[in-house]
């Protein structure tokens, strides 16, 4: 009998991998053993050649849901071998680097048990197994053992212990295993502190009562898996509006949860990829296109045989998508058991703060928002927000049916799964990337892999900055990471940059300053497995703002890059942000700055005196703004495409006065676009951009676009058409500039990145046009295109700059 040693690397620890190997080895009549060690798992197996082959085959086919085989290496084994059965051996004590897996949605088997009256897990809200349940959210230290999680407070009852120790059981070594007898419990409280009497609800239990409360139009705070949420009936306009008022959240869309896909389908059109994502263990919020009658004026008669209420308008004002997720813990399943309607499930926080995770904290902070609380006593140790994703057409493959995941917020269910870095990054010293300021993440480079933290939020908020530091501390410990280099953004005022500098100084660690857009592009390259010593790639990084190499503000950059350096080949015409940061919140400032940059305002006023936007701008202290701009008082120049979007949006009447959340103008403008308009507009003329030359680099001048756009407004062309034309024009202009650049430079690959490429229409159109030039397009998928990817870009650039030349 041949004996083989099988080495497997990947996500193979703490995810039920060994029991699966054990079961399959038994089934294939192999003898030998399996153990965890520092590199993954190591198997020694003896059996016939065919049975070993069969075993390997089945291992791939029946790999547990949360496990991932990255590499499998087979070698003949000649050492000592005296097994007459197959066994699971103790972990080899050489440092076991147990992977910290992401939290996972309740698996189908556990779901079944939770609703099975004969199961001992019947209606138990913390049911889990090796295929599902909490991971990152409950860990305190490594190794990932129960003692190092918030489950340490609960000791297993004999029945749970027996399942935990049984190799053939789905709960073998499932650290958070628990049941009614021994595990965490849930209870309901009133926000006003008054007692709840059983007579108030003739319900099964406290959890079931939540459903009744929601149906009655109450607002309930729910302690979930990795943070508090606030819930209410999504079809009840009054309560949704009440929630907006209480949360002081004017327009930013709310996420929804529905009991099952069938309910979601009443409101949204789903493709198979979207369905797959909703039902995946990550269970993210998926942005789904609204059925025309899904958000109709409460108009229920159309085409629906089944009666169901419309989603309240104030759930997602100005959107053409709804963000839906499915229940991902038994608690959610139980709450929604009787709920035929979607509920709002938004993060439980006050304004910009991170979600609450602690019971007392939630009680003090959320009691003016929620009427009721459902608490539990399993501590959340790490705050992890719900992830947000959408599905885009993968036009680069020339096949419009091909769909692709586009992550907008990478958190629960995805983090902290490591990313394998491209060839060349294997032997790099540990590096810490501090990230940006908004949508911050940090990133650890270690052993050729990148561990990207969950989305942490906007650091300017003190509580978020605190949470960022705590998460950083935790990750450094969990991954035993001791950075040799710290990489930061060049912006001197980013709190992450300041902290990075402090850490580097205090610990005498080398510091690398990384340009914002170079980092964006490098992140996109790394995600697309571009090797370290690559030939240059053209990166197109379009975003709000990033600190430029020349100390001005950039945001519409065409950079020829490798991992070490970049050359700026083209940009957008720099336009003043009159009033600095104010221009980010007040779109009209950008419209005005764009218009006066090339037009004579007096002429504009005369020619377009009847346009709403011109009248709107006339009501502003324009003389003063002119002087600010001319005298360069608080009016930095920015080549920002984000601001161009703001300018156009305001011009066509989308929140000209003030944005109530980041990117609102651009998001609501994109929401105006539908496929019909897209097709129609493509055939017609789009708006021209002019490509000019400035100091040896090209820049895109939107002046002719504005001319055409103002004329359209003059002719009462609708908002929707103008929005559509603008998107198409921009994609067109980008393509033209790329075409121009490739005549001078060897460009065969283009990376699209930056927050602007969260825009599905722009991304899809640009990809399509560029592919038709025969260019290979690199886009994001698992990693968001926005500033959440900066930390990844920072570490790969820092690594490339510090790796020994061409190893």
């Amino acid at each position: 009998m041949p004996i083989e040693e099988i080495r497997i690397c990947g996500t193979v620890q703490g995810v039920g991998f060994r029991p699966t190997v054990y079961r399959l080895a038994k089934a294939c009549e192999l003898k030998g053993n399996i153990c965890n060690d520092g590199e993954g798992v190591l198997i020694q197996a003896s059996g016939s050649k065919t049975s070993i082959e069969k075993f390997i085959h089945r291992l791939y086919a029946e790999c547990p849901p949360l496990a991932k085989i990255d590499r499998l290496k087979r070698t003949p084994y000649q050492g000592k071998f005296d097994y007459d059965d197959f066994v699971i051996s103790d972990s080899i004590t050489t440092k076991v680097k147990t992977e910290i897996a992401p939290d996972a949605a309740t698996c189908p088997q556990c779901q079944k048990e939770v609703f099975d009256p004969l199961s001992r897990y019947y209606r138990y809200p913390f049911t889990n197994c090796t295929n599902c349940g909490p991971r990152l959210s409950i860990i305190r230290a490594i190794p990932y053992d129960r003692d190092n999680t918030s489950m340490a407070a609960f000791s297993m009852c004999p029945q749970c212990k027996q399942e935990y120790n049984d190799v053939t059981n789905r709960r073998f070594h499932a650290q958070p295993v628990a049941c009614y007898t021994c595990g965490p419990q849930v209870w309901l409280e009133r926000a006003d502190g008054k007692p709840i009497t059983a007579a108030m609800f003739s319900m099964v239990d406290d959890i079931d009562a939540v459903c009744s409360l929601l149906q009655k139009g109450e607002i309930v705070a729910i302690k979930g898996l990795s943070g508090f949420h606030i819930a209410c009936d999504a079809t009840n306009e009054a309560v949704v509006q009440k929630l907006r008022d209480r949360k002081r959240r004017v327009r930013k869309p709310f996420a929804l949860m529905a009991r099952d896909i069938k309910i979601i389908e009443k409101y949204c059109i789903l493709n198979p990829k979207e369905r797959e994502l909703l039902e995946s263990p990550a269970a993210p919020i998926v942005l789904l296109g609204i059925r025309e009658w899904g958000l109709g004026n409460g108009n229920r008669e159309i085409s629906s045989q089944e009666k169901f209420p419309a989603i309240a308008k104030s759930v997602a004002p100005g959107q053409n998508t709804l963000g839906f997720m499915l229940p991902y813990t038994p608690l959610h399943h139980l709450i929604l058991r009787r709920m035929e309607r979607p509920i709002v499930l938004t993060s439980g926080n006050i304004s910009d703060e991170p979600q609450c995770i602690d019971n007392n904290e939630a009680k003090t902070k959320l009691n003016k928002i929620a009427d009721y609380f459902i608490f539990h006593n399993r501590d959340i140790l790490n705050r992890v927000d719900d992830s947000v994703v959408r599905v885009v057409n993968d036009n680069s493959k020339g096949n419009t049916q091909s769909k692709r995941l586009l992550t907008l917020r990478r958190a629960r269910g995805y983090a902290p799964a490591p990313l394998n870095l491209p060839p060349g990054f294997k032997k790099v010293a540990p590096i810490l990337g501090m990230g940006g300021e908004l949508k911050n993440t940090f990133c650890l480079l270690q052993n050729g892999r990148a561990v990207l933290s969950q989305y942490l939020g906007d650091l300017e908020n003190a509580a978020t900055f605190q949470a960022y530091q705590e998460a950083l501390h935790l990750y450094l410990n969990l991954f035993e990471h001791h950075p040799k280099i710290i990489a930061i953004d060049k912006h001197p005022e980013y709190l992450s940059s300041k902290l990075g500098k402090e850490l580097a100084n205090a610990n005498q660690i080398k510091l690398e300053n990384i340009q914002h857009h170079h980092a964006h592009i490098a992140a996109c390259m790394a995600e697309n497995n571009i090797p370290l010593n690559t030939s240059p790639i053209l990166g197109i990084a379009l975003d709000g703002l990033g600190y430029g190499e020349d100390e001005t503000i950039w945001g519409g950059e065409f950079l020829l890059v490798d991992y070490r350096q970049f050359t700026r080949l083209a940009t957008f015409k720099p336009i003043a942000m009159i009033g600095g940061e104010k221009a980010i919140y007040q779109p009209w400032r950008n419209t005005y700055a764009h218009l006066i940059s090339d037009f004579n305002w007096q002429e504009l006023e005369q020619k377009y005196s009847n346009l709403e936007i011109i009248n709107f701008l006339e009501s502003k202290p324009l003389f003063l703004l002119n002087q600010l701009q001319q005298k360069q008082i608080n009016s930095p120049l920015a080549s920002s495409v984000g601001r161009l979007f703001d300018a156009v949006a305001a011009a066509i009447g989308i929140c000209p006065e003030e944005c109530s959340y980041e990117g609102q103008a651009a998001i609501e403008m994109e929401a105006l676009i539908n496929n019909k308009n897209l097709e129609n507009c493509e055939k017609n003329q789009t708006y021209p951009f002019q490509i000019k030359n400035l100091d040896k680099i090209y820049y895109m001048d939107p002046h002719p676009m504005w001319k055409a756009l103002l004329n359209d407004l003059q002719f009462h062309v609708g908002q929707q058409i103008i929005a559509t034309k603008f998107h198409l024009s921009l994609a067109n202009a980008i393509t033209r500039i790329v075409d121009l650049l490739r005549q001078k430079y060897p460009i065969d690959r283009v990376a699209l990145t930056g927050g602007v490429f969260q825009n599905k229409t722009l991304l899809q159109q640009t990809t399509r046009y560029l592919s038709s030039l025969g260019i290979k397009i690199l886009t994001h998928s698992l990693i968001p295109p926005n500033d959440s990817n900066l930390s990844l870009g920072q570490i790969v650039i820092a690594a490339a700059r510090n790796v020994k030349e061409k190893s």
Binding site: G546, G579, E581, Q627, K631
Partner: protein, 334 residues
């Protein structure tokens, strides 16, 4: 004025303008140095406070004040916030060739009246005229000496969690006034610089509460910078309440349109006082009784963590980090 007009011409100039204007016994001796009787100084205390500052403000005259008054009050205030009684100032002037004698006389007169209000004497000075372009119109340096009261120990290192942070009035007026005057912005406002000497207000505070922990005038970099310095020096956190920070409507309006944050704008007559919470109300009441403190407010409290950080509690109820700026106010948000 012509460059290089040394010797007799310069002597005449100094005689003419400064000595005549400032007119006090020590200065009029026209020695190369001023000398004082130590014993008489020691009547005020046993610690000497010494400070120096250069004034390069542009324009020289602006709503509410001018470079001359500023040069006196700035240095007087730097002495005052250490708990010192300001006594003597030096005055060194650098003039750009071609500067008008008439204007210089105006500045000197302004300095004289400011010195009188602040109860200090200008006791020695110097004047240089440099080539056109080597300096911008007029620079003034003043150095001041004061004697610190024996009963106080004021230091940015003394602050403790629980302490109260008090400001003596509305913020940002000086910065806004200068910006408007300098930028020649077509902005009709009544905003005037708050330039004023704080020695008497400080005395009022210290008379009622000698155990003030820390005190600093919020000049360049504004309130935000001073409280950050406090938080760093004492290794504490400071939480300011946005709604309690006094900013007049006009300054608010200007900041809104210009996109500036009044908390980072310069002041020339504002001081930040940190006192133990039990003294807060007493000090506040004392400040209210003084003309330069009638709009005083408690604007925040000292917290034990996070350390070295200033938080601004916004009207939305969440804390924003109010950081020290490395450079100018530059947009951060993507």
């Amino acid at each position: 004025l012509a460059h290089g007009s040394g010797g007799k011409a310069m002597q005449d100039l100094i005689d003419d303008i400064f000595v005549d204007t400032f007119d006090n016994p020590i200065l009029s001796q026209l020695e190369d140095q001023a000398s004082f009787n130590i014993a008489s100084l020691m009547e005020h205390g046993d610690k000497l406070a010494l400070t120096t500052d250069s004034y390069v403000v542009d324009p020289l005259f602006f709503p509410g004040s001018d470079i001359g008054e500023l040069a006196i009050n700035g240095t007087v205030n730097d002495l005052a916030v250490s708990g010192a009684k300001p006594l003597y100032l030096t005055c060194s002037v650098i003039l750009e060739e071609g500067f008008s004698v008439e204007t210089l006389r105006r500045v000197a007169t302004s300095m004289k009246s400011a010195a009188k209000k602040a109860g200090v004497q200008i006791v020695t000075g110097d004047t240089k005229v440099v080539h056109r372009g080597a300096a911008d119109k007029l620079f003034i340096n003043t150095t001041g000496i004061g004697i610190i009261r024996p009963d106080v120990c004021i230091s940015a290192n003394n602050i403790q969690p629980g302490d109260a942070v008090i400001i003596n009035g509305e913020l940002g007026n000086h910065g806004a006034a200068i910006l408007i005057a300098r930028g020649e912005l077509a902005l009709e406002t009544d905003i005037e610089s708050d330039c004023q000497p704080l020695h008497d207000l400080v005395k009022t505070i210290l008379d009622i509460c000698p155990e003030v922990r820390a005190m600093r005038d919020a000049t360049r970099g504004g309130l935000a910078t001073v409280v950050n310095e406090f938080a760093l020096s004492s290794n504490v956190g400071i939480r300011l309440k946005e709604e309690c920070i006094p900013v007049c409507e006009e300054v608010k309006g200007v900041c809104e349109i210009l996109g500036l944050d009044p908390l980072y704008l310069a002041n020339e007559g504002k001081l930040v006082v940190v006192v133990g919470s039990k003294n807060a109300e007493t000090v506040l009441a004392a400040m209210h009784s003084h003309p330069f403190g009638k709009n005083a407010r408690i604007i925040g409290e000292v917290i034990s963590s996070p350390t070295g950080v200033v938080l601004l509690k916004t009207s939305f109820g969440s804390d924003r980090i109010l950081d020290m700026l490395v450079g100018e106010q530059l947009p951060r948000i993507c």
